[in-house]
């Protein structure tokens, strides 16, 4: 009785309400749920913070930011406002990503087919370890390798051949430079291979064996079997490619180190350029003086964020739908 008097009335009331309900299980459930909700807080705060910080730039430049082609944080005439336009950056991001997909996807699909359809299992285990190692190498080391090994090779061996044979195309004209958009695209192609090939391999492996058995029973060759597998997993492969695209769009360090970092609307792939990610990496730490400069870089980050989320969310949706289709087909069997 004596202790009861010390407990305030509202606590007693609370205890009566929760009596028999607040078990260890529900407490555990609520606690882990709150922690699992960190994801809402992180993404929400991220979006809010970045929008808040790029507000100055959004208000100053409006839609012109997306269409402008000059990037002048420190104009020569001090009375003129600094001008920022992100179109060349978006252009650079799109072109490098397109090169990466053009070169990386066929190789990735080849790897996925070799591992899931053609190669023996034992071989499979070792080789997939090596392919996965490609994704474990930090991007700054890809960049370093790009500068010192890849660029000399491309500049003096591959690019001159390209220009001699395909020079009639505008994209292969002009002076050959080592650090260029094409180099950036090639490095990105190497970097998306592990992502695209690993997911495609899993998708091919999920194709029901009845499909293979049916076509083999009709007397198909191994390649014809592989084609059936590919067409069955088509939508999943498209998802894998989109994930690769997401990686290429957001990749920062390696591209920054090999793309040449010049701000222009390039037409030739041998010209240097910039991407959304590379300009932030390159200029952010030095962009302290005019507040609008840092805000403009924030807006570049916002565009990148939006682009990456759209690409990745649609990739996930496609993969999710295609694996569901496979699962349903198996259930019907």
């Amino acid at each position: 009785m004596k202790t009861n008097k010390k407990i305030p009335a509202f606590l007693l009331k609370l205890r009566r309400i929760f009596k028999g309900r607040l078990s260890g299980d529900s407490a555990f459930r609520v606690a882990t749920m709150l922690i699992a909700c960190n994801i809402f807080v992180i993404l929400g705060l991220m979006l809010y913070n970045i929008i808040q910080n790029s507000r100055l730039s959004i208000q100053t430049y409006g839609v012109g930011f997306l269409l402008g082609t000059t990037w002048q944080p420190f104009p020569p005439n001090p009375n003129v406002l600094p001008s920022f336009g992100a179109l060349p950056l978006i252009w650079g991001t799109l072109v490098t990503s397109a090169i990466a997909l053009f070169l990386g996807v066929p190789v990735s699909l080849g790897i996925a087919l070799a591992l899931s359809e053609f190669a023996p299992k034992r071989f499979n285990y070792i080789v997939s370890f090596f392919v996965e190692l490609l994704s474990a190498i930090p991007s700054v080391i890809y960049g370093l390798w790009g500068i010192f090994v890849l660029i000399p090779f491309l500049q003096y061996n591959l690019f001159p051949i390209l220009q001699a044979t395909l020079g009639f195309l505008p994209i292969f004209q002009g002076t050959i430079r080592g650090p260029s958009v094409l180099t950036g695209g090639i490095v990105l192609a190497i970097m998306i291979i592990p992502t695209v090939s690993a997911i495609s391999r899993d998708i091919f492996a999920a194709v029901p064996n009845s499909q293979r058995e049916a076509i083999i029973a009709l007397g198909a060759t191994r390649w014809e079997k592989a084609r059936i597998v590919m067409s069955y997993g088509r939508s999943g492969v498209i998802g894998a490619i989109m994930l690769g695209l997401g990686r290429a769009v957001g990749e920062t360090m390696a591209v920054t180190m090999v793309i040449g970092n010049s701000f222009n609307m390039f037409t030739s792939l041998f010209e240097p350029g910039s991407t959304l990610a590379s300009i932030v990496a390159n200029e952010f730490t030095e962009a302290s003086s005019p507040p609008v400069y840092i805000s403009a870089l924030m807006e570049v980050g916002l565009i990148l964020f939006a682009l990456a989320i759209i690409v990745n969310a649609s990739a996930r949706l496609i993969i999710w739908r295609s694996t569901r289709k496979v699962k349903e087909a198996e259930m019907i069997r």
Partner: protein, 275 residues
């Protein structure tokens, strides 16, 4: 109907193209590893790992502060990221049918694919604005990168635990939360450890988020609210000037060896599970 010979030849060509794709992908890997070892080994000696970084452009000097900085930032990020990641993973696996779980799972995948530079920007808006370039800002940015990876792998590991084990514990009268925290977690611990190692390997090589948060420095660690050095940042800075070439390869070899070691441990751990 195409002739059988034509189909056979086409089959040969396509299958060998697929194998060729494998070789094409392994060439860059081999080249990166060989070049780094050949160019990095000569730079490595005892003092290289323990000396301060000399100013950019001055020959000599080691990478001591960079190694120290990387270890500190990664450790701090792990302290923040691992508990959050593991507990979120437990929720997603144990209460997988709830609406919150399925939304959180989707957002988790989204966060995994947010470009690393955007995480750097976020770290900057969150912490650098308040207290300046600092170790804490870097650790938070890396922790945010780590959380979705750990969450995902923990969830997958727990899902693999056979229901029979869980039922056995519950039949003995153990409450569900205790079953999860003791029986289920301990049978999923290998999978969870793999996920944690994977996340650590991934964040220790990250450069972009650190560039905007810990800034980099030449000196030894001097406090959690101060800028510090890190291996990937040092590699990026060294690569800008020709005079630093031996150092940059030495630093790269060190970083690759660290990450390779973690990856080999992962392979070892997962191999035992299937063997």
């Amino acid at each position: 109907m195409r002739s059988y010979t034509f189909r056979k030849i086409k089959n040969r060509i396509m299958v060998s193209l697929a194998y060729m794709a494998l070789i094409i992908a392994l060439i860059p890997l081999a080249s990166i590893l060989i070049e780094t070892i050949l160019r990095g080994l000569p730079a490595m000696n005892f003092s290289f790992f323990f000396e301060e970084i000399s100013p950019l452009g001055e020959p000599g000097g080691g990478i001591g502060p960079a190694i120290q900085g990387t270890l500190i930032v990664v450790a701090l990020a792990s302290i923040i990221g691992i508990p959050i990641g593991v507990l979120s993973g437990i929720y997603l696996a144990e209460f997988r049918q709830t609406e919150i779980a399925s939304i959180a799972r989707f957002l988790n995948d989204v966060l995994t694919n947010v470009p690393s530079i955007v995480l750097g920007i976020f770290g900057w808006t969150l912490i650098v604005v308040a207290i300046g370039w600092s170790v804490i800002a870097g650790a938070v940015a890396l922790a945010i990168m780590m959380i979705p990876i750990v969450t995902r792998t923990t969830e997958e590991a727990i899902k693999l635990v056979p229901t029979t084990i869980r039922e056995a514990a519950i039949a003995l009268g153990v409450p569900q939360w205790k079953t999860t925290l003791t029986v289920v977690l301990s049978s999923a611990k290998k999978g969870i450890a793999t996920g944690i190692l994977l996340a650590v390997a991934r964040i220790s090589g990250e450069t972009a988020p650190l560039l905007l948060t810990i800034l980099g420095s030449r000196f030894w660690f001097s406090g959690f609210t101060e800028p510090t050095a890190a291996l990937p940042l040092a590699i990026f800075n060294f690569s800008q000037l020709p005079i630093d070439w031996p150092r940059v390869w030495g630093a790269s070899l060190t970083l690759i060896l660290m990450i390779l070691l973690i990856n080999i441990i992962i392979r070892y751990v997962t191999r035992e599970k299937y063997g």
